[in-house]
Symmetry: C2
């Protein structure tokens, strides 16, 4: 496949509120050749994840923003098509943060070979990748689930939430999911085996949550924020834990919600119920990667942990798919098929 | 001293907002005689502490409220004046939650003998008692101070904050206090040895705090809430820790502050800075009591840890003193002298 054109999705403008098509630019350029010590990768699967919204903004955060005119940041599964770097050979399947583009050069830093015999290679972006590891490390290190406890998981059909709840079940918890449609809720209960799943769009969602958690909530795995958190807060038990890895419901917000200021309510709950709230990103637990892959892959093979992927075809559709992700339009881990998967 | 009258401060009404005189009742009754298995204690020093505001309210909390007509709850140092319980003899000095009264019967549960040779017995209510242990356990278990880090302490001249900052200094931190008057700030820096102390009533308090913390804030020991917390939030470093043991600034509030709702701001900081926020009460660390007394008493003897007590004379003045405590009118650990100290 002698390709000559490299398409790239660039950040054209910093979004105000929800990103729009005009915040992205589809550029074309030549496919670069690898220099000494470099690898040329052809993207197979591009991962789309909520954290990318943060990279589009220049508000201070834990990572640098993408600059205007730069290729959008993203993890991808690729095939090596040219290599002047020892350890990598054409044909290798690799994972790396190679961005929203058809081809990428890499000096090998952050590039990791993937064994296609282990699992479908797209899972390196989801259940066996960053989202799965976010679920695993946040739940086990911060949530510290104990048998018989109640675990509530937002975005329960998504890449992270689906894994959180299933690991919670494996650890003996009651798992209550929250999702954005009846169809997603059905999947979460019937396919993933959660004990219950509630639609946060239902007007009586808070009441439903109280009914679904008759013994209160011991762990709330926070990846959305907003209304779900507000409904969870009064249900916390003493010594409840709240890992915070995402706040997708507020990423597009351009202003704070109307008053009153509810921080005193939150802090009162923290004090009187002795809550633990802790933010993290997956790389805070980088040393647990091998253990994570080992455990989660084992659970998948035993049929105890399932995953769902939502494929979109074509790099040119990545911006639209990403905008939908921020509104919960995806159903499962969102992956863009950029080129045919030679292993599938 | 054959006393015949037992005065008791009762909860007369649940306060709306700040407590008033009329929320308390000073009642008189006979001094009871100890039955089999009981001890009669005469109160020497009564402790007044912010948590008591919570006991006056029937909002759900970690402890039951005082009922209307009941004796106000409180820890006190007392002398045993009659005993039909083995292990306690007249003349013993004891600590117990014997309440706002001249005399109290106890079945011995929660009653602990105090050695007057160790330190002035009033310290069992402050630096060597519940407030000191709150400081010690919260800072060391949740704050986890490391050499060179910046620790901010609210209510820095108070019973808890003064100990927090001094232990922080012993552990090698930069200690920045916050207090409610220039006189208190002077004491905190000159007597207690904090690196800086700021008056939260100054209009440019937030700017002063930023200047006093040039390397950001690694630990904020939260015992007041409100405006101090708002000024601290933007200064947190990555992986900062926030033990929460009190929120005195909001105890008397009858409504939430005006909007916008700043919870999304707080949660964004939790996520992007990977903050840890954890509420606790001292008894969550009950097994560390011996270690606490040992360490803090050692530091006092070495001259590395100082304390200040604010004495008020007369049980009848306890309500007024308590109302002042909630407004920060005390200067040091607030103690009511109920009867002469036979050890002093």
């Amino acid at each position: 496949m002698p390709e000559t054109v490299n398409r790239q999705v660039l950040l054209a403008a910093r979004p105000e509120g929800a990103p729009r098509e005009s915040d992205f630019d589809l550029a074309e350029g030549p496919v670069p050749g690898p220099g000494e010590g470099e690898v040329l990768c052809r993207t197979i699967h591009l991962s789309l994840d909520p954290y990318m919204r943060g990279r589009m903004s220049d508000a201070k955060s834990y990572a640098k923003p993408v600059e205007i005119g730069q290729v959008m940041e993203g993890g991808a599964v690729s095939q090596v098509v040219g290599s002047k770097l020892s350890g990598f050979a054409p044909g290798d399947i690799v994972f790396g943060y190679t961005g929203w583009q058809d081809y990428a050069l890499s000096d090998g830093r952050g590039l990791r070979k993937i064994d296609p015999a282990l699992a479908p290679v797209s899972t390196a972006l989801g259940v066996l990748g960053m989202p799965g590891m976010t679920a695993y490390t946040g739940l086990l290190n911060i949530g510290r689930p104990k048998e018989g406890e109640t675990l509530v998981v937002a975005a329960a059909s998504g890449a992270v939430g689906s894994v959180v709840g299933q690991i919670g079940k494996i650890k003996g918890c009651r798992a209550v999911g929250v999702a954005g449609s009846a169809e997603k809720c059905k999947f979460v209960v019937e396919e993933l085996g959660f004990d219950a799943c509630l639609n946060h769009r239902d007007p009586d969602f808070a009441e439903q949550l109280a009914v679904a958690c008759p013994d209160g909530i011991d762990i709330y795995y926070e990846n959305v924020g907003g209304a779900v958190f507000q409904a969870v807060l009064p249900l916390f038990n003493f010594f409840a834990r709240m890992p915070v890895c995402g706040l997708i419901a507020q990423y597009n917000a351009t202003e704070l919600p109307p008053g009153p200021n509810q921080i005193p309510l939150l802090m009162r709950a923290v004090l009187t119920k002795r809550l633990s709230i802790r933010g993290f990103i997956v790389w805070d637990f980088a040393d647990q990667q091998a253990e994570f892959v080992d455990h989660v892959n084992g659970w998948i093979r035993e049929g105890r942990l399932k995953y769902r992927e939502d494929f979109v075809d074509g790099l040119e559709n990545a911006p639209q798919a990403f905008m939908g992700l921020l509104q919960g339009k995806n159903f499962g881990k969102l992956v863009v098929r950029v080129s045919p998967d030679p292993t599938g």
